[in-house]
Symmetry: C2
Subunit: 335 residues, 2 copies
DNA sequence: TTGAAAGCGCTACCAC
DNA sequence: GTGGTAGCGCTTTCAA
C-alpha cells in the first residue's frame, strides 16, 4: 500500500532498476520495446520519482529560496509573482521566507535554506549585511538581491535606479511648472528606498537652481498609508504654500491624498501628487495617481532567471537595472 | 573544500557518526563530555545537516505546498502571509505554486509537489475538482482548501461563510434605510465567490420582502477594478434609481467608485457602496470603504495550523469557518 | 555510552 | 541493451 519505488517498478516489469532509471530520465541505452513496457508499468503502478532521493545524489534540490521582509503587500506580491513564474518555467520550486514574521529572523531562515539545500537565494527588499552575505557565501550558492542594498556592494543586484527615478519624478513636477515641491519619504537612514530617493529629489531641485530645504522632506519609518497621511499632514502644516508633492511610494501618496482631503485640499487643483512604485493601487484611487512605475513582476522574473543561469553555469551574475517609467494620470496639475 | 558531512564531523571528533547523529538530534545516549566535543567540532567545521538526506529516511520533507491561482493580489498575499507564518513557526517550509501562471497547470504542479514529497497541500481560492482531489488522495498527504470550493464537498475547508457574509452586507444596507439595492459581482457560475454571494444578496432582500430583480445584479468574469468599473457603469445605466450597491470584492467596489465619479455621482451621498474582503485597499480610498472583512491572514494561519496537525496526527481535519465582520467606514449613507 | 552496519530511493559507473 | 552495485548523507536498530 506504500508508494511504489523504482524498485517496485523494476520488479514488476522484470527489468533492472538501472533500466527503469534510464528510461524515466530519457537517457540512452534501451530498446523501444522495453521503454514501452516500463512506461506502462509506471503508469499502471502510479509511480512517481522521488525528488528527495534524486536530490541526494545530484546534490541539488531544484529549489530556490526567497527572502522578503513582507509578504502581504502589493510590491512583494508582484515580485514574488515574477519569481515564481520564471522559476517554475525552468522546473524550479520556490520556498518563501517572510523575514519579518518573527522579527528579523533572517539568519535563521538562511540556515533553514541551507539545510534544505536550496540551489540559490533571492534576497529581496532588505539590507544585505556582511553577515548575511558571508553566510550565503559559505552556503556556496549564488545569490541575487532584488531592490535591496548590499553592504558589500559586490552582490549582483536587480533593481531600478532609485535615485534617477526619484530625480525623474521631481523633474516631471518641475516641468509641469511647480517650484514649491515637498517630499514625503521613508527614513533617510533606509539605504534601500529612503536615502536614494531623497537624493534624487535634492538633485532635481538643485539642477533647477532651487535651494534644498530639508524641512520640506518629511519622513516616517515606513512607506505605508498611515505614514503618508501623517507625513503629509505635517508637511502641509509646516509648508502651506507647497503646490506639489513627491511621495516615495504609492501608499505614501495615497495616504497623502487622504490627508489632503481631510484638510479640504483638492488634488490636483490645489496640490499635485506624484507617487512611486506603480502598483495597481495607483490606478484605483481618485484621482488616479501619476506615479513612477517600477515593473516588479519583471524584476522578480529577471532576478530569478539570472539566478538560475548562475546556478547552471556557475558564473556569478552581473545583475540588471530595470527601467522605470512615469505613468501620467490625473494627480498632477500643470501650473 | 566541500561542505562537511556528518562523517567528516565524526572523523574529526573521533567518534562514530551514530554518536554525532544522536547529539545533533538531541537524542539520548552520550556523555556530556562527548556532546561538548562534538558540538565544538560541528561549530568549528561549520557543519549543517542535510535536510534532503534526512527526508529520505524520515519520509518527510517538512515542506508544504500551496496552490493559488493568483499571486500578485492583496488577498493571495495576505493568505500566503498567514500560511507562511504558521508553517515556519512549526519548522515547515512552504513552496508556492501559481496555478494561473502558465494557464491552469494545476495538475502539473500537483505532480511536482508529489515528487518533492511535500507533507501536505493547501489548495487556495480555486475550484477543487474530483480529478485534483483524487490525485492528492493518491499522493497520500492531507489537503485543506482555503476559500475554495471542492466538488466532493468532503475536503476539509477553511473559509468564511460567503452566503451569510453577503447576506449581512446587504442586510446592513437595508438597515441603513436602503431598499433599491444593486449588486456587482463575479460570475454566477463561480461557485467559490460568485454564486454564494449572489445567493446571500437574494436572501437578504427576500427576508425584507423585496422582490429579487435579476437585472440588478450585474456581473463580470473577474473581481477586479476594471470589472467593477464596467459593471457599475452598466448597472447605473439600467437602474438609475438605485441608492446602494453591494460589491462582491473591494476591488469591484473601488472600480464602482471610479465609475460613479465618472458619472458625477457622489459616494455616499447619491450612492452608497459596501465592499467585500476588507483588504488594505478598502481603508485607503476616498471615501474609505465600508466593507465586510474576511481576515485572510487568519485564514491562512488557521489552514496551515490545521494542516500541520493533520500531518502529525494523521487524522483528517474538520476545517474551520472564519468569522467575517462588517467594518463601517464612510461609503454608506444612512437614508 | 558507544560503534557497526543496514538501508531510505535513486543515479551512474562498470560489466557483460 | 541491460543488469549489478556502490554510494549520496543520514537515522536507527542491534551489539558490544
Amino acid at each position: 500500500m506504500n508508494k511504489p519505488t523504482i524498485k517496485d517498478v523494476a520488479k514488476e516489469a522484470n527489468v533492472s532498476i538501472a533500466t527503469v532509471s534510464r528510461i524515466i530520465n530519457n537517457g540512452v541505452g534501451y530498446s523501444a520495446k522495453t521503454k514501452d513496457l516500463v512506461m506502462q508499468t509506471v503508469q499502471k503502478m502510479g509511480y512517481s520519482p522521488n525528488a528527495i532521493a534524486r536530490g541526494l545524489i545530484n546534490k541539488q534540490s531544484n529549489t530556490i529560496g526567497v527572502l522578503m521582509p513582507e509578504l502581504s503587500g502589493l510590491v512583494s506580491a508582484e515580485i514574488l509573482h515574477g519569481i515564481e513564474k520564471a522559476a517554475h518555467s525552468q522546473g524550479q520550486s520556490v520556498i518563501v521566507c517572510n523575514t519579518a514574521s518573527v522579527g528579523g529572523q533572517t539568519l535563521d531562515y538562511l540556515k533553514l535554506l541551507q539545510e534544505k539545500q536550496v540551489d540559490g537565494v533571492l534576497f529581496t527588499s532588505q539590507f544585505l549585511t556582511h553577515e548575511y552575505a558571508d553566510f550565503i557565501k559559505k552556503m556556496g550558492v549564488p545569490v541575487i538581491t532584488i531592490s535591496a542594498y548590499s553592504e558589500d556592494r559586490a552582490t549582483p543586484a536587480v533593481r531600478v535606479d532609485d535615485e534617477t527615478a526619484a530625480y525623474d519624478a521631481v523633474k516631471y513636477l518641475l516641468q509641469q511648472g511647480h517650484s514649491e515641491i515637498g517630499m514625503i519619504s521613508g527614513s533617510p537612514g533606509d539605504r534601500l528606498a529612503g536615502a536614494p530617493r531623497i537624493e534624487g529629489y535634492k538633485k532635481a531641485l538643485h539642477d533647477e537652481g532651487i535651494p534644498f530645504d530639508k524641512t520640506k522632506v518629511v519622513w516616517r519609518n515606513g512607506f505605508y498609508f498611515e505614514d503618508g497621511r501623517e507625513a503629509c499632514s505635517q508637511l502641509l502644516n509646516e509648508h502651506p504654500t507647497i503646490t506639489a508633492l513627491f511621495a516615495a511610494s504609492d501608499e505614501l501618496a495615497v495616504g497623502a491624498m487622504t490627508s489632503a482631503a481631510e484638510q479640504g485640499i483638492q488634488v490636483p487643483d490645489q496640490l499635485s501628487i506624484i507617487g512611486y512604485d506603480g502598483t495597481k493601487l495607483s490606478a484605483m484611487v481618485l484621482p488616479p495617481l501619476t506615479t513612477v512605475s517600477q515593473n516588479f513582476i519583471e524584476m522578480g522574473e529577471t532576478a530569478a532567471t539570472l539566478l538560475l543561469d548562475s546556478i547552471q553555469t556557475g558564473v556569478t551574475s552581473k545583475g540588471a537595472t530595470i527601467q522605470h517609467q512615469i505613468i501620467e494620470r490625473k494627480s498632477v496639475r500643470k501650473l
